[in-house]
Symmetry: C2
Subunit: 454 residues, 2 copies
Amino acid sequence: MDKPLQYANNKYNDYKDQLIDLLKIPSISTDPNYNTEVRRAGEWVVADMQRIGLTAELIETNRHPLVYAEWLGAGDNKPTVLFYGHYDVQPAELADGWDHEPFEPKEKDGFLYARGAADDKGQFFIHVKAVESILASDGELPVNVKFIIEGEEESGGESIEAYVKNHSDRLSANVVVVSDTSMINTEQPVIVTALRGGVSMELHVSGPKSDLHSGAYGGAVHNPAQALAEIIAQLHDTNGQISVPGFYDDVKALTPEERAAIAQAGYDFEELQAETGVPQAYGESDFTILERIGARPTLEITGIAGGYYGAGFKTVIPQKAIAKISCRLVANQDPDKIFDLLEKHIMDITPPTVTTELVKLKGGRWAQMDIVNPMMQSAVRAYRDGWGHEPIFMREGGSIPIVAHMQENLDAPVVMMGFGLNTDNLHAPNEHFSLDHFKRGIQTSIHFMYQIAK
Amino acid sequence: MDKPLQYANNKYNDYKDQLIDLLKIPSISTDPNYNTEVRRAGEWVVADMQRIGLTAELIETNRHPLVYAEWLGAGDNKPTVLFYGHYDVQPAELADGWDHEPFEPKEKDGFLYARGAADDKGQFFIHVKAVESILASDGELPVNVKFIIEGEEESGGESIEAYVKNHSDRLSANVVVVSDTSMINTEQPVIVTALRGGVSMELHVSGPKSDLHSGAYGGAVHNPAQALAEIIAQLHDTNGQISVPGFYDDVKALTPEERAAIAQAGYDFEELQAETGVPQAYGESDFTILERIGARPTLEITGIAGGYYGAGFKTVIPQKAIAKISCRLVANQDPDKIFDLLEKHIMDITPPTVTTELVKLKGGRWAQMDIVNPMMQSAVRAYRDGWGHEPIFMREGGSIPIVAHMQENLDAPVVMMGFGLNTDNLHAPNEHFSLDHFKRGIQTSIHFMYQIAK
């Protein structure tokens, strides 16, 4: 194993330059104007994988192509790793507040600044370079490897869902490695052990057939903006618990061990206030702040609008008002069931003076990863030897729906080896990725492959 | 009196053509691009008044000029009428949904279609033409008349407020006639006996220092859109009464006579539903629909906004959310006191997890008109003889702040002789004014001047 580790160190500058090349391609998947750029990024990845000795191809889908690659020379008696990542990125332009063009990468103070640097080009590329380092120095890998790198994670991800479902044989593996999450800090790696699911929806509250003059009808017509507020106010109790009957029925209680693991992270109101500036914490008093954020289901109003809200004033009773609602779900909550419960509750509390409609936008399942799985323990050792510190296990508040989908369809444990930082400005201007993380990530990935080959 | 009435009938087509000329001037007072057009409309009115024999002038203000005119030849032993109106109009353009250019008047089915036809050029012009008809046929008027026609009613009205306050001697009169309201239908004139006051404000609810990712902080941070909804939900009780302590303290109870007069109008849920399409009426069950609309104070959410409410979805906890609030006030509520009560209530119910601010935008006083005043009775007889039907007395839900201001400063009764219809599309595309109302309004105004001269 020493040769590949050394090889990676020697090739660090080349690997960095290759990553910079990939970061120059504006593979913005949500904007059809960038369709050819997205494809170009996929082709770039395929070419790089072929160059290092993998069999790689672009797989056509209804939207952006998938990259699939494999090296199966280790044989049937060796395990197979499937690496997941995505080569598409969030939108970005200079005017959003970037210090430089987001697709002209800049190196500064040990960080590489570019859209996609951490999310997710820099992260999945770590494993590509780990594989390259072993193949180049040993001529073979200690395990079989497969890569599935998608091009629409930032804009739906429907294509990979269909592909995973219909090609579970081709993707079959003993472990799936996903690198699209964050660590606490450089010296404290994290393996995420749970991701929340989610369901997003839009609530419409309608009253009169058109906007009315508030002086002419106010007092005798239920104002839809007011009715919307009254309905929203009945979705949480004063303790911040969600008031929808049945909402918590399927929530798996946290074990004392899980609570102890969460407490280990040592995050409290001081950190929350430093990060957000809120005057006081909110939410379920029976749970710590980190439990509320990462381990409990939530219901958030992500948008609200009705009537006239521009400069000045219009004396209007709005015809309708809307709210966008996002629920984060935990084991064993089902997104469809939660939507149905919410719909029923909202219909139950809708006064007869207005009409409501709840429209489902998107749902995704939560995922839980088994800590005692041997693959997880191999990852712990890989971090210890490759990074220099053992990782801690942590729940993550966000959602990566493809994880639960791969768990279900591939019947393999998922190990979330995240190499980013929460301060990397994901989805924001001046996204960046630590080059030290890039380097140590490659070492860790090499160690991981040798660990699971034992 | 027969000669002027006949004269008016003979000159009807000329009067209509003159009104069309005035309607061609786009005197949109809220948009500074139209400042010269507003002035041109004022100059047009001055010229018309001078032509018919009044002393008239344009009075400069900080914004749009006032038109003042007078004929005081009836002498001190005759009463003086002050006619109020406004020559400015709401914005309008073809693209808003007009069937034709809004400043190219069209006559159709007995109506004149143009911006300002009913609000208020067509209405105040009735009195100008009544005065012209008498002066042209008799050489003198039975009473003294004054006109104050403002150019910024649709955009603040500050200039006339200052002028009324500082020039109450010049404007002094025995009765003020305001024609800027509506009748029930062509055969049922209405004299409005009460106007509501109002106060408008903006409620700001702030939480974190910037938008947050709902997956990263949801559950531990009070969502400002949710907090705003929770606050709004505490502004009314389940019976539609306003829950702000002290809000109703100064409300003068309706007398049995007033309630009987309101009941006489015979407006109930059928009409409300036909006009608005709401599934059920809302509001204070102890009051009839018409009482809720016209005689009770109200609190309306005229706009609400926060987070992301465009197409698609953004998983964001908004930094802040806002609501625009409009209160309609009745005797003897004071707009400043009501604002203070609301501010105190909102501060009292603001949870410690967010911060709130209530910003006052504009306040105006309610007005009540004395039914038994002799001027009011003269108006009743004028309608009977000039229109063909006695008017009913009715409260109006809307607000015309200058009315209370003139009552206070001029110490004269106000008679609201409205010649419009609620179906005239005021402030909306295809505004129109009945030419039959124009004709009968002139007859009524002539009768009124002779009535009060008796």
